[in-house]
């Protein structure tokens, strides 16, 4: 009890989460996203073509209009995905993990290590081809406070997992 002190905390002196240099996702992850989109839109395009053949009065719709709308959707999706990819970034500090994400808004989530319940590594089907993995960090706060950081090099992801496991057990 004698060593106990209770000094005023200078809030200006505290480490600032907003000034931390964040690491952006691996550039290969953009390929993963593009690939996924390519597959989805290919399926959609094939379905559209089939629909056009099957429907009897399909002449009523202008091919150019449908194709135009399709192109707009593809482009918008591309732009949104690009923004989302560019915005995602992470940092592992001594005591917490910071993850930034969002499209219109910039959300920055901070999870202290002493609140982490467990850590998992997830490799998606396409991600595996590019040697990438997702680090999933779970807390007791339910899905809203869980962090999933995609697009990390697999070796690095494994290291991160080990680091976190070490921090949790402490």
């Amino acid at each position: 009890m004698e060593n106990f002190t209770n000094e005023t905390i200078d809030t200006k002196q505290l480490p600032r989460f907003e000034e931390v240099q964040l690491t952006s996702l691996h550039s290969n992850y953009w390929k993963v996203i593009s690939f996924k989109n390519l597959i989805i839109f290919s399926i959609l395009a094939i379905a559209l073509v089939f629909l056009w053949i099957i429907l009897e009065d399909s002449e009523r719709f202008s091919v150019y209009l449908v194709f135009g709308i399709f192109l707009i959707i593809v482009n918008v999706s591309f732009v949104l995905n690009r923004i989302s990819f560019k915005k995602k970034a992470y940092a592992f500090r001594n005591h917490d993990v910071i993850f930034r994400y969002g499209i219109i808004a910039t959300n920055t989530m901070v999870v202290p290590y002493n609140r982490v319940q467990h850590v998992a590594l997830h490799e998606g089907f396409i991600s595996r081809f590019f040697g990438l993995a997702t680090v999933e960090i779970f807390t007791a706060g339910g899905s809203s406070s869980d962090v999933e950081i995609p697009g990390i090099d697999k070796v690095e992801a494994e290291n991160i997992k080990q680091l976190l496991m070490g921090k949790i057990q402490k």
Binding site: I9, N114, V147
Partner: protein, 502 residues
């Protein structure tokens, strides 16, 4: 005190409990088949009625059989070596549930009407895990229930003895120390003044389900739409609305009062081994143990009438194991006064959370809310009226009422929207009519999220979400500098201490 029972050997439920199991399976059958049976009963001629009787008889016999088999196959015991509570059950599919004793969060003893008539109890063992990891014993005698509860929780005290104050433990042991009883009058006050929206929702769902079912069965016979339409058309519209509102309000009052009384009758709170023991209910008696360490968010709610009547409601959110179980993890204490509320808060937080530094939202929050709920719908309304169907414009005087109503709601909502921060607690105040104060302990924060829209960057405003194990707390659109400063401070507080959050 309690008859010493050996729980180490597999035990059956109480024999008379077969009756409970019987009603239980009957109820399950009933809720599945009742609409069909009723329908046949009303519509069928005599021959069919015979079939219905045979059907009911079959159901009864099957229910008895199931109840007996369930009783036969249900055993429970405590494995002292592994420190586990084990339940075997199942007729065809056998299930073995084993619960580690130190994972047990709550042991609830409760009674429904049938339990009460035949004088036995049901016991619920709650854990932090998911739904599957829970033990329910449907029929057990009172002494056995108490003994089991004691046994289950006793083990926990052994493991968590450090947390619980030893002095208190020794002195009080299992003896109850009732410190709060909510009287009839307070319940009545709460019944009159709360849950309007919930009740309206209930009435509407009830109403629509009935209509839907009627339509489903016999479209033309039961439900003469023309007749009703004619009837509705004959009544002048204002008179009709007035009438409906009066009826609604009466029904809401009646439902609210009866619901509150039945649910919370004889509400008492006792202290036991550092936790709170709540028990309440007129027909079904519930008793729950609340541990202060498990409390995540405390919500104190009160509206204008309740303020005048000097009552308030407390809702306590505990660690939720599952998103689905959110309602179960929430404990309500209706109708206490300011003093009692303070006492409860002191017990939970070990001190009375004070309102500290205040944060206010930016006026843009008000503007945005008005834009979303007034400007957008009204422009939609007028555009529709002018360009598509001008008949709708006959009702345009309703828009004035609508606008005033929402302006008032938003104005008061904005005025009450505050975040108070002190050394250990965060209090968020919100609401237009029912003013809620949500209190969380900084120690219980799981994660923090700051959020900013890109066009808000230059004017330096943004939002903050505080994640806890009992749900989130969001405070929108206030000074972003301030938010970031607090986030840094809270992170520092959480991270410097090594204490576990539970």
């Amino acid at each position: 005190m309690v008859r010493e029972t050996n729980f180490n050997l597999p035990q059956h439920q109480s024999k008379i409990g077969i009756l409970v199991l019987f009603f239980d399976s009957l109820y399950k059958f009933g809720s599945a088949f009742l609409p069909i049976i009723l329908f046949y009963f009303i519509k069928a001629d005599f021959n069919d009625k015979l079939i219905v009787f045979v059907e009911i008889l079959t159901i009864l016999v099957v229910a008895v059989l199931i109840a007996y088999l369930k009783y036969r196959n249900f055993t429970f015991y405590i494995d002292e070596n592994l420190d586990e509570f084990i339940i075997h059950e199942g007729i065809i599919n056998k299930t073995k549930t084993s619960i580690q004793l130190d994972k047990i969060q709550q042991v609830n003893i409760h009674q429904n009407l049938i339990h009460r008539i035949i004088g036995i109890y049901a016991i619920n063992v709650d854990t932090a895990g998911s739904d599957k990891k829970e033990g329910n014993i449907k029929a057990i005698s009172h002494s056995l229930a108490l003994a089991l509860k004691f046994k289950l929780l006793d083990n926990e005290v052994k493991n968590e003895g450090i947390i619980i104050d030893k002095v208190v433990e020794n002195k009080e042991d299992t003896s109850l120390n009732v410190f709060l009883k909510i009287n009839f009058l307070s319940l009545l006050k709460i019944g009159i003044t709360s849950n309007y929206v919930k009740s309206i929702g209930l009435i509407l769902t009830f109403f629509f389900t009935i209509i839907e079912n009627l339509k489903h069965f016999r479209k033309e016979d039961v439900f003469d739409e023309d007749k009703i339409e004619k009837m509705v058309n004959n009544i002048p519209i204002y008179y009709g609305i007035f009438f409906v509102i009066i009826v609604m309000i009466t029904i809401i009052f009646i439902i609210n009062i009866t619901r509150t009384l039945i649910k919370y009758f004889n509400y008492s709170i006792a202290k036991q081994k550092g936790s709170l023991l709540l028990s309440y209910g007129l027909i079904n008696t519930e008793s729950t143990i609340l541990k202060p360490e498990k409390v995540q968010i405390v919500n104190i709610s009160r509206n204008f009438f309740q303020k005048k009547l000097k009552v308030l409601e407390i809702k306590i959110k505990q660690t939720l194991s599952d998103e689905k179980n959110q309602n179960k993890a929430q404990i309500e204490i209706p109708g206490c006064n300011d003093f009692e509320c303070d006492e409860i808060l002191k017990l939970i937080f070990k001190e009375l959370p004070q309102k500290g530094t205040m944060l206010q939202p930016n006026f843009r929050k008000l503007v945005f809310a008005i834009f979303l709920t007034i400007v957008l719908p009204l422009s939609g309304f007028y555009i529709f009226g002018i360009y598509i169907n001008s008949e709708i414009l006959n009702y345009s005087h309703f828009t004035i009422v609508y606008t005033i109503f929402f302006l008032l709601i938003h104005y008061f909502g904005f005025k009450n929207y505050r975040l108070y921060v002190n050394d250990n607690h965060i209090i968020k105040q919100s609401g237009a009519w029912d003013i809620d104060k949500e209190i969380i302990e900084i120690e219980k924060i799981q994660a923090l999220t700051t959020s900013q829209l890109f066009w808000h960057k230059s004017i330096n405003i943004g939002s903050l979400t505080i994640h806890t194990a009992g749900g989130n707390l969001t405070f929108q659109l206030c000074k972003f500098d301030k938010i970031k400063e607090y986030v840094n401070l809270w992170l520092y507080k959480i991270e410097k201490s090594n204490s576990n959050w539970i």
